[in-house]
Subunit: 332 residues, 2 copies
Amino acid sequence: MSSRVTLADVAQRAGVSTQTVSRVVNHNPAVRPETRARVLEVIGELGYRPNTVARSLATRRTMTFGIVVPDIGNPYFADVVRGAEDAARGLGYQILLCNTDQMPERELTAIEAFQEKQVDGIILCSTRIPEEDLPDTLRTHTPIVLTGREWVEGAVGAVHADDDRGLLLAIKHLLQRERRNIVFAAGRPGGPGHARRMRAWHEFADSAGYCAEQLVAIPCATNPAGGQEAASQALRDNPEVDGIVCFNDLVAIGAVHACIEAGKRVPEDVAVVGMTDIALASLVEPPLTTVGHAKHELGKQAVAMLVDHLASRAHEREIVLKTELVVRASAP
Amino acid sequence: MSSRVTLADVAQRAGVSTQTVSRVVNHNPAVRPETRARVLEVIGELGYRPNTVARSLATRRTMTFGIVVPDIGNPYFADVVRGAEDAARGLGYQILLCNTDQMPERELTAIEAFQEKQVDGIILCSTRIPEEDLPDTLRTHTPIVLTGREWVEGAVGAVHADDDRGLLLAIKHLLQRERRNIVFAAGRPGGPGHARRMRAWHEFADSAGYCAEQLVAIPCATNPAGGQEAASQALRDNPEVDGIVCFNDLVAIGAVHACIEAGKRVPEDVAVVGMTDIALASLVEPPLTTVGHAKHELGKQAVAMLVDHLASRAHEREIVLKTELVVRASAP
DNA sequence: CTGTTAGCGCTTTCAA
DNA sequence: TTGAAAGCGCTAACAG
């Protein structure tokens, strides 16, 4: 018995127009104090609660953002969503969630569904929509912010970590520890990030006098199973492998398992470095050396960008969050 | 350039009434095929997309559920939410998410915000709202399903795991392995679940000829830090402790750390058992023996219950999911 | 099968 | 400072 009470009910009982009640509800100062008091009293008596659906229809704003992630069960995205929801809540927005299991069609469906729901903006995380289809997808009147990748034509903006530098941090760390046969369990191949990271590596190798071919990149699924496969294949191909850098911490955990299975000690025989520093990273054995991201911040910034955009406020087109090496036992 | 197009625009261009267009959009069969074709054609030309806000105002249904959890960053809740979202999506519903960090006021705020948004139902997970305030909170026209606790007056239903039995499974497992000084890192005290679990233990102890006082329950925060504290305190109080059952897997991970810090081997000196079997459980070292829950199923059933309720379909008032012991290295 | 008439509950003009 | 009228985009309930 709450939403049955409407503005009109309150207005009638208070002996004013609906407009006046609306003003009170919306903290419009143009209401005589006594009138306001009377209205507030009736609102209390009747237990009136505004119907935001009606309000949204009239104002064309829903105070809602949609966020689409591959899988909220992945601790990385859970953190990003948490950051987004925290920021959104603080600004009076709510968050609609959709998981896509990395299926582009489902991303598209989610975006459309969010649009029909008239969300004020969408945060599209680590999209798998092919690079070339992205501009078309983003060409819509709903502002979309990308996370986990670079800005692309049509997006309001993009927020991502400096993964190129992150990869280099990890590799340099291993090189400094005299590891020379390094493998990169690279996650999904073909993505835009992949090429850039390899390029970053080649540039660094050239300038630092390393042989670029020292780094073998092996594509893999971005989960423990993928890391396990990639690492065991790498060790099979080359028993000399003494360092593995992984696309993320989940992959790293799988890689550690594979090493142990292959009779290698971590880190003595093979050093393993993860990426993103999920909570899990410090809890496994050995604790993971990893390149940390500000995941919570990522979600937060995405929301901030959307809000700035909606307020026609200037904002960066691309925010790149710093990465930092967190040294733990898996690669001391 | 999508949501600017309305039903009326389509109707005009197609030379029919808005009602007819509405029928086509809603797959109402009472439309002549040719008319339908014509309308669909115009819809395509104009790129018409329905505005669900307007639809919701008219139908009084938003096809949205709100889910309130303590923290989506907790893998347990991430799984529950995933299950709920999967089920919801399959049924045409969307999910609004809110994190409360176990703060009752924020749960209340979330429920109200969801109601103002006219959600069709709410899933309230592991609420911290005091038992005695719950009926009042639930006395609202928005159907609310509880998870992680028993049904209470006012709720549409409740879905939870059989934790009483789960605790017994864990304890019995330890007793069978000749562990005699068992500690229960019990999570938050005072909750309704706590008393019930202790009662279950006492009943079992009586009937099985064990001394009920063999089980020391120590309240603790439901995270690794809490487990670490509880376990180190337990070991300080009684160095003979040879078994620790934990409120959840996060607590168990902390407990394992505390044991190692105290110079104990796990499981040789102290066996540790967790609860809920999050993905993490099998990845830590030693892998955790734990009492598994169907977390994904929990969210799924909560949604199913809500949907059944909305369809005035009969459904259980309380669904209790089975728990099962998953034996791994921490307590072989 | 199709159209007309009313709203859903709120906000937005524009007057008063 | 307040109110009346109109409408946001859609569907419900009748007619025809």
